[in-house]
Assembly symmetry: C2
Homo-oligomer: 196 residues x 2
């Protein structure tokens, strides 16, 4: 056997990535074999190498695309705008973006240690760029006298940790819906920076 009916590179490629993502998130990069990924898509193991040069690149590519999308979709910095409104927008964006991509968020955090040092450096730099955007908002609010923050850097990390944590417990169809969650987190964030 070889090429199968109706198969196309531009269909199989995304399917491979989706399967890898699912399995990496479920069981961890190191615990998932190329044969398992291939099996999920209905391929032999060898066919995967038409879509990725190797397993490491497959992981890196998933993480890199995710971080890129995160940075692109983040509302542009608007230094003239009200810091409080900017902080609210950031919190809302973060929660929505993360709730929509639980698997990607999960591996982008959990699988950092399975990246080669070079790949790790790339992802880490992107993460810092994202954090810097929040830090800038907190700085602006502090300077404008709208926030009362004891330590901007620490508060940045604390807020991101708090917001990202939403993925560890939120389940669709539970007690709260997305809007409810967004509102409560916005509330927590505003209070934590002394804006309420």
């Amino acid at each position: 056997m070889a090429r199968r009916q109706g198969s196309h590179s531009d269909i199989t490629g995304p399917r491979v990535r989706a399967a890898a993502l699912r399995l990496f998130a479920r069981h961890g990069y190191a615990a998932v074999s190329m044969r398992q990924i291939a099996g999920e898509v209905g391929l032999g193991a060898g066919a995967l190498y038409l879509y990725t040069p190797d397993k490491q690149t497959l992981l890196f590519s998933l993480m890199h695309d995710h971080m890129q999308e995160l940075l692109e979709k983040l509302p542009a910095a608007a230094p003239d705008q009200d810091p409080r409104a900017r902080l609210e927008a950031f919190a809302r964006f973060h929660i929505r973006f993360h709730l929509d991509r639980p698997d990607l968020v999960f591996i982008a955090y959990m699988e950092l240690r399975n990246l080669t040092p070079e790949n790790f450096a790339v992802i880490e730099a992107m993460r810092r760029r994202y954090e810097a955007r929040l830090e800038e908002i907190l700085c602006a609010g502090e300077l404008a006298g709208e926030f009362r923050i004891r330590d901007v850097k620490l508060t940045t990390m604390a807020l991101i940790a708090m917001l990202t944590g939403v993925n560890t417990w939120f389940r669709e169809g539970g007690r709260l819906d997305r809007e409810g969650v967004e509102a409560i987190y916005r509330d927590l964030v505003l209070k934590a920076v002394g804006a309420e």
Copy 2:
């Protein structure tokens, strides 16, 4: 060759656990082999099985002992005490405990998915017991009118995520010392629940 000079079960045992902990935290459970662990301690692979029935139990044992210590050392619930003081004590305890055991905290969170379902259930139950302690404090403060909390359950999860996040960025000898970190986190927590 066989038994070596000065070797004792009660010395080698802890050394095996320490090596496993270090390596699991560094590279992940699935990515670490029994031979690597044994090598770290200067043993052949077979000798490990004098100290653990298998690899899975080694991981579970590390996580279980960690969670047990967490629950034991957590200041006892004191429902008559001031909720604000109890919350401060909880935050301080959490930060200190976590800063003192970064590797254990790390694997207790990261390696949950590498536990068998039965082992996972045990650890998860312990984690919930810990979270319930914070939830109880928040409830008490809300009822006493000391806190203003929109959703106790969500706030519990958010605060724990925020506090646990300290391990992702804190490095000894950095800009802030432990006391400084504790103080700022206490501040953030109190503000988030509307106690300031």
